[in-house]
Structure formats: structure tokens, C-alpha cells
């Protein structure tokens, strides 16, 4: 019985640590996608003037960011209620969406370039944070799990 309880506590700790890390990983992925999309958009506006809808329709729709773009440009619904984004970040993403496609070429390029730095900053920060915290969290979860297992045994 003690062995079963100990294993359960161990697995629970691993699960909680993974869940805690996931938030950071997902947020980092979200901003990485946003950064890549913004870069793609910049080159498309500058050279081919491809419409955003065409760019969005060529995405694979595998990540939250891509799905959010699809929803916005096909149904005009802004869905930023991702659990890993803070309220101010949701606002930032909403403003980004609302700034897309509303001006002439020069205005659109200025808007993309001015926000590019902010996105790059966030992407770097959350990428580093994700690597640090997810590694730490998994280690911590493992150690707590092992401790729990030892206590039960």
C-alpha cells in the first residue's frame, strides 16, 4: 500500500511540475510564432503586398497563435483568452491584431516595425524564462516526488 501511495505522490509531483512548466513553454511558443509571423508579414508587405488573409490561409494552424489568426481573419473574432497570457499581454495581442491591415503600405510597415522590437523582447525573455523554469520545475518535481516516495516507503 505504501509503495502504491509513494508512486502516486511521485507521479503527481511530476505531473504538477510538468503542468507548471507548460505555461511558460506555451507562452514562449506563442511569442515565437508571433515574432515569425510579424517578420513574414513585413517581407510580404514590402515585396509582394500579399493580403494578410492569404498569408494566414497558408499557415498550418497547429499552434494557438496561428489558430487565433485564423479565427480573427476569417470570422473577425478576437480570441486571446489563453491561460498562459496575463491580462496586459492579452491587450497587447489584441492591439496587434487590430493594427493589421488597416493602413496603406507605409503605415502598415511602420506599425509592423515599431511593434517588432517589443515582440522580439518578449520572445527572447519568455524563451529564456521557459528554458530556465521548465528545467527547474521538472527537476524540482522529480526531487519532491522522490522525497515523497522515500517518506511513504
Amino acid at each position: 500500500m505504501n509503495i502504491i501511495s509513494g508512486v502516486c505522490v511521485f507521479l503527481l509531483c511530476i505531473f504538477v511540475s510538468k503542468f507548471a512548466a507548460e505555461k511558460h513553454v506555451k507562452r514562449a511558443t506563442f511569442y515565437r510564432d508571433m515574432y515569425n509571423f510579424n517578420k513574414l508579414l513585413q517581407s510580404e508587405v514590402l515585396f509582394a503586398k500579399t493580403s494578410i488573409l492569404s498569408i494566414v490561409n497558408n499557415l498550418s494552424y497547429k499552434t494557438d497563435f496561428e489558430l487565433m489568426l485564423k479565427e480573427y481573419f476569417n470570422c473577425r473574432i478576437i480570441k486571446t483568452n489563453f491561460y498562459y497570457l496575463e491580462p496586459n499581454e492579452r491587450k497587447f495581442v489584441e492591439n496587434y491584431l487590430l493594427s493589421l491591415g488597416v493602413g496603406d503600405e507605409e503605415t502598415q510597415l511602420n506599425s509592423i516595425q515599431s511593434i517588432a522590437e517589443q515582440i522580439a523582447d518578449k520572445q527572447k525573455r519568455y524563451d529564456a524564462e521557459s528554458k530556465k523554469i521548465s528545467g527547474l520545475s521538472v527537476k524540482l518535481g522529480f526531487l519532491t516526488g522522490v522525497t515523497g516516495l522515500i517518506i511513504f516507503l
Binding site: 508587405v45 488573409l53 492569404s54 491591415g101
Partner: protein, 286 residues
Amino acid sequence: MNLKFFPKLIVEALSVCNVDKLYEIRLREGFPVIVVLDGQKYYLSQNGVTIFDSQAIIATKIHIDEIIGNVTEFSIYAFNDKIKCGFLTTPEGIRIGLAGECVMNKDKVLTIKNFSSLNIRIPHKISGCSNLLMTYIVQGKKVYNTLIISPPFFGKTTTLKDVSENLNKINLGSILIIDERGEFGEIKGQNIDKISFSDKAYAFDYGVRSLSPNVVITDELGGKKDWESIYNASLSGVNVIASCHGFGVDDIIKKEYFIDGIFDRYVVLGDKSSNFIVYDKDRRLL
């Protein structure tokens, strides 16, 4: 015909109408939506068309913005060159004339914003409408430089489209369509090359050099540059078939940029495309 760029309310109302006979839709903010069906003007109501403005759907700013958004795929930057010229074109060649506030920088139009009315022209393909006209434009292997003249809405573009298809069929060489406004949407053929959304001067210059056409077809000659391009093309051994707004030949020769000697045929269209008058290069009735 894909009319999905309209707001749902208007799409539903149009679904009751015979779209094959629909020629024009006008939206003016705060006023009833007007449609031209089979040459007659009606109001658009939720149940189709009506002659009573009290039953009509009232166009709102939201309707107008939705149409612009759908046609530009929510990417104004990709369509601003057309917006500046006062129109948008859908992939099917539906032309949307725009009225709104022009944003100027010195003497240049930067864009048009706050759109207040739209004039949506639904193109129609009338196969064979130029069959009779072809006997005046083509004789043996010779294609005459031809200018098709009429007021707006008399079928210049429809005629030019049919002329393109007829020339394609009779295999007289390469045909280059310079489609400045994207209105030749569906016209394709084994002898047809098409340059779309470019100003005529550029398209004539590079098209004649790089695509070696035998005949160039273009719509709506306007300013000096258009006439000069046509003139230069005609001097390069290329035949030109073009159209121009006017009531008749007299209007055309009074135009500031008119260049005499380019065209061998002047065709004045009547209110039906089968109804036309042809003049020779000296403007004598044929």
C-alpha cells in the same frame, strides 16, 4: 458569380434576385440600396427587389466597411494603389467604385478613407456579342486598330472581352490584354497573355517588348500617357483595340490628348451591344 463579399443581409436579399440579370448595385450610407436588374432600377429589400423605398434595405457604414474589408481581405496596404484610383476589383472582375474622403499630401492622393458610397458593377459575359463587329475589325489576316466608344454602362468591356475571345479562336497570333482594373477576370486562352493591375504606359512598354503580341487589347483610354502608349505601340507594328468613354467620335477628337491617325476603325456602341455604328480612320461612316 461570387457575391459573398456582401454583408449577409444583402447576400440573402440578392439570393432571391436573378443574378444573371443583375448589372449594378449602389450603396449610399443612410439611403436605400439600389440595384439595376435587366436595365431597370429597383430598391433591394429583404424579399428581393421592390419599387418602394420604404421597404428597401438601408445601406449603413457597417455594410460599406464590411464590403471593403472582405474585398481587400482586411489588408488595405495590398489594395491601396487601386483605392487611390477610386476602385477595387474582385477576382471575378466585379468592379467596385469608391466614394469617400481623399487623403492628400500636397497634390498626391495618399488614400481614400471613410467610404460613404459604393457603386458595384457586375460584369456579364455575352458570348457572341461582337460577332458582327468582328467583320469590321478583322479582314482576312489584318486586324484594324479599333477604338470602341460609348458612355459608361453601354458594354465596352463586355464587347472587348468577346473580341478577345473571338481573336483567340481565329488564331491571328498573340493577344495581349492590358487589364488595368482587373475587369477581364475570367478571359483566358491559348493565344492570350494578360497583364493586370498595371498602368497602361508600363504595361505597353514591357508587354510589347517581352511578350511580342500581335494585338493589344485595353480598356478605357484616359490621359496623355495612355494615348502616347497606344501611339507608340501602333508604331511598333502592333495592332491595338481599345475603348474610350464618349457619346461619339466627335467627343473623342475633342479630347485634349487625342492623337489622330492611330485608329483605322471607330466603333460607337448603342445601348445594346449588338447595336453599333462603325467609322473608318477618316471618320466616315462604314
